[in-house]
């Protein structure tokens, strides 16, 4: 075998390995989709019949446990929280990227510090605080969308700030200088010149926060009652003490993955650019 032949063979093997790994990575997702079409009876025995799919679970899941409520709640809470987090992060990230101000180091360290706090550490006081507010004030946060939005916004803002900071660092300073030479105020330059140039970053940050909010279980399990519960709670209602509907559970798994999957693939061009720019340039 010549060197070129050996090389081509090696490349072919690596290609095959790559595709094989991709297959392994995708297999559980494929299995989820297949399982959702098999009905609870076949799921129990594992005797799947791929040629005889049933889609009745996709219909039943909406009425049996009122899954629509959880779905809508998730959409509202996650969208609002991701928007707010992105907005807050954009302004704070810009301050970190372009200004030196007193307490900057402390603020920056504190933002990272929030990531070191275990959820259980501040869940309990937030939970007791919500109850206390309910008892003693007219502020309704327990079991409301607002309560969850506030908490999630705070959750995802710190990471988002660092994301946005990196994006702003990538925007050439000359743009603002020129705008200010033209008479823009500093804020005007940020608002009208820098933000539009960081649009992919805003989008990336939004989708990132949305993905994480969509995934959150611990806090929503304790801070809501029946009105603001989201999908991670609702999906577990298919398994009760006296009945289980695994077919519907799988279908709900597919349905609750779809919005994030769509959001991701619709924006993936900017998102991948944004996420990697944010993290690599650091």
């Amino acid at each position: 075998m010549t060197y070129a032949q050996r090389r081509r063979l090696g490349n072919l093997a690596l290609d095959a390995l790559t595709w094989g790994l991709l297959l392994v990575m995708l297999a559980p997702v494929v299995w989820l989709v297949i399982s959702a079409t098999q009905g609870t009876g076949r799921l129990a025995t594992g005797a799947y019949d791929l040629l005889d799919p049933t889609f009745v679970a996709f219909k039943d899941m909406w009425s049996s446990v009122n899954f629509g409520k959880y779905f809508v709640n998730s959409l509202i809470i996650c969208t609002a929280a991701a928007l707010l987090a992105t907005a807050f992060a954009a302004s704070a990230g810009y301050a970190l990227a372009r200004y030196r101000f007193k307490g900057q180091g402390v603020f920056s360290t504190a933002l990272t510090g929030t990531q070191l706090i275990p959820g259980s550490m501040f869940l309990l006081p937030v939970f007791l605080g919500f109850i206390w507010l309910k008892q003693n004030t007219p502020v309704a946060l327990l079991d409301t969308h607002v309560g969850m939005i506030l908490v999630y916004t705070a959750f995802f803002t710190p990471v988002a700030v660092f994301f946005m900071r990196s994006f702003f660092l990538a925007v050439p300073r000359e743009l603002e200088d020129a705008a200010m030479v033209d008479g823009c105020t500093p804020f005007g330059a940020f608002w009208r010149i820098v933000l539009p140039n960081a649009a992919p970053g805003l989008l990336a940050t939004f989708v990132y926060a949305f993905l994480f909010a969509w995934d959150e279980l611990l806090f929503v399990a304790s801070l809501t009652q029946t009105r603001a519960e989201t999908i991670p709670i609702g999906i577990r209602n298919f398994v009760g003490n006296y009945s289980e509907e695994y077919g519907q559970l799988m279908a709900a798994g597919v349905v609750s993955t779809l919005p994030v999957l769509l959001a991701f693939f619709a924006t993936q061009r900017w998102l991948v650019k944004g996420l990697t720019a944010g993290a690599v340039k650091g």
Binding site: G39, T40, G41, A44, T45, S63, S64, V65, N66, T79, A80, L83, L84, T86, A87, F130, I131, K134, Q135, P138, V139, A140, L141, L142, D143, T144, H145, V146, I149, R192, L195, P196, A199, P200, L202, L203, F206, A221, S222, Q225, T226, I233, G234, R236, N237, F238, V239, G240, N241, Y242, S243, E244, E245, Y246, W270
Partner: protein, 464 residues
């Protein structure tokens, strides 16, 4: 993707925030608006206020929990004009939800609660003492003693709930499998020895049915909410108990309790119980029986009811047509205990429409309504007469009625839920170890000793 995009995003963000804030204030107004209901309740048995919304929390008790309950309360709504809002709370989170409702006041007017949870919720102080009202329902005499006691807290005055539906566990077996193995169902499950022999015979003689493998017996593991309900009857059979009589000390490490747990664990250790079932929760194992993969299994009445429902596609034909029910086997004490449970209804102190809420409770306690709901869910009504009626006419149902009447529940103390969690963890570990090739007496004893110490520490908690 430019300036317009950014502005749009900012606008949406602003809108989201402001609507959210408005919603917060609005929600509050709505709740405060309903204050007149409370006044009506104070005035005594006045007419029900039409249009009052009463929130009722139920758990996912059946495959279609919300619609079933909405249909059930429809006649009540039509008659009284009270609007019943049925809200589903998953079994998974119901403990947190009800506790939070009791403490915060953010919750329903009436909630379903598991019978063994009532004392804990009562201890939180957020629920109405219904002692003065229960005479409307016929008082304690209208219910079997064991059912009524689940509305009380041991050693305290007060009635904190009204019984709703009742269930108990019995042995499910496949008639065809027993026949094939040449076992007489009448004596197959008479006592511990017979039970074991039956499983051994099935294992030897009936490894498969219709070409599909079948396991003699299966029990869920630590993931099952009701693992303790499966194991504790054997402790009782052997003369043991979960706590001592005045519920001041745990007794799960007593020789009798140990004997009971060992008998059960050995079924797993000796390969009579399928160890793969230990990975599952109760309802998953239930579906294994329905799918024809288990010959014997312990379960509640709802499974029997589901065998009559054509739309339940989990049943294989053979399993559906061959369901047999037997009472739990008798142990060394000569008795064959079973766990009797179910759910009660509790009224929250924070309810602003107590009059209407009580009317709903009364309606749900009517024998006819109880029977209807119980039949829908495959449970038994909690009222004595209705219960007796529900057990008539069918041999399998009669077995469940017998089970309920001979059943037993746990001590009615606030810490029971925590103690049950502790026991569940240890029982699960014992069964897991048994699945790995058997468990010896010393290990079993150590695990039970740990469970007992944990329970004692929980009992020693106080408000200090």
């Amino acid at each position: 993707m430019s300036r317009r995009f950014i502005r749009l995003m900012a606008l949406v963000a602003a809108m989201a925030l402001s609507t959210a804030l408005l919603a917060a204030c609005g929600g509050d107004d709505e709740e405060r608006g309903g204050g007149s209901g409370g006044a009506a309740a104070a005035a005594g048995d006045t007419a029900l206020k039409k249009g009052t919304a009463v929130r009722l929390w139920i758990m996912n008790n059946g495959p279609d929990p919300v619609k079933d309950t909405e249909r059930l309360v429809q006649p009540f709504e039509q008659k009284t004009g009270v609007d019943v809002k049925v809200e589903l709370v998953g079994w998974d989170v119901q403990f947190d939800r009800i506790r939070n409702a009791a403490v915060s006041g953010e919750g329903p007017d009436i909630t379903q609660a598991g019978t063994t949870q009532v004392p804990f919720f009562a201890a939180l102080g957020g629920f109405e003492d219904l002692s003065d009202r229960v005479s409307d329902l016929g008082g304690s005499e209208a219910y079997p003693e064991g059912v009524w006691s689940t509305t009380q807290v041991q050693g305290q005055e007060g009635t904190w709930a009204t019984p709703w539906f009742t269930e108990a566990r019995a042995i499910y077996y496949r008639k065809d499998v027993l026949k094939q193995a040449g076992i007489d169902p009448k004596t197959a499950f008479a006592d511990w020895d017979a039970f074991r022999t039956t499983l051994e015979t099935i294992k030897q003689k009936v490894p498969e049915v219709g070409g599909k493998p079948i396991q003699p017996f299966g029990t869920p593991g630590k993931k099952a909410f009701d693992l303790v309900h499966h194991v504790m009857p054997f402790v009782w059979d052997a003369g043991g108990a979960e706590l001592n009589d005045d519920a001041s000390k745990a007794t799960i490490a007593s020789p009798q309790a140990q004997q009971g747990v060992k008998y059960f664990a050995d079924l797993v250790g000796d390969g009579l119980a399928d160890k793969a079932q230990l990975e599952r929760d109760g309802t998953q194992v239930e579906n294994q029986f329905k799918a024809g993969r288990l010959a014997v299994w312990m379960g509640g009445p709802w499974v029997l009811q589901s065998s009559e429902r054509e739309d339940d596609d989990k049943w294989t034909k053979a399993a559906r047509e061959n369901v047999g029910i037997a009472p739990m086997p008798a142990g060394p004490s000569g008795k064959g205990f079973t766990f009797v449970g179910g759910s009660n209804l509790m009224m929250l102190k924070s309810s602003k429409h107590k009059n209407e809420a009580w009317a709903l409770l009364k309606y749900l306690s009517e024998p006819k309504v109880q029977t209807e709901y119980a039949a829908l869910m495959g449970m038994f009504p909690s009222k004595a007469d209705a219960q007796a009626q529900a057990g008539e006419g069918d041999e399998n149902k009669a077995q469940f009625l017998k089970a309920i009447q001979q059943g037993r529940s746990y001590a009615e103390i606030p810490q029971w839920g925590q103690i049950e969690n502790a026991y569940k963890g240890r029982f699960g570990e014992i069964l897991d170890q048994a699945a790995r090739g058997g468990i010896d007496d010393a290990t079993l004893s150590t695990e039970l000793r740990k469970a007992q110490d944990e329970a004692d520490a929980l009992l020693a908690q106080n408000a200090g």
